[in-house]
Symmetry: C2
Subunit: 94 residues, 2 copies
Amino acid sequence: MADEQLRRFRSSIDNIDAALILLLAERFKITEDVGRHKAQQGLPAADPEREKQQIARLRELSSAANLDPTFSEAFLRLVIDEVIRRHERTADQP
Amino acid sequence: MADEQLRRFRSSIDNIDAALILLLAERFKITEDVGRHKAQQGLPAADPEREKQQIARLRELSSAANLDPTFSEAFLRLVIDEVIRRHERTADQP
């Protein structure tokens, strides 16, 4: 049985998870806009220089927030792979 | 060369990534408190019922936010694995 303190901790975790999900949804909305914008402007879909900058910045942020950089990179990798998957799915639509 | 609109999109993505990193750091702080609390109270570290509830709740939230549930589950899995890794690292300390 969960005690009162454990319930309070879990309620905070649930609030943070909801915030994470909504922020991720907003992030994917923007990357979809980026995909559309790049297609309209004839810009290449991938930008290795930008990706390198993002990883370096995330490493700094993670270190300041006492997060394991390996975790943060795995997290960014998961997000970027989902961006690519969504782009492919959009491109497949007639 | 990135145009002005692309720079604006990227600035939003960078802001959101910083928010995600800080929220994740806060989440890990709380799960560390949970670990300590469970150890003090003699509660088991794992709680499969709670995990099931979290996955079900995340599925609902993701669906409402138009996020792929497969992505959200992979995300939660990554976070939970990091929680376990951090617990193990803490337990290894003398």
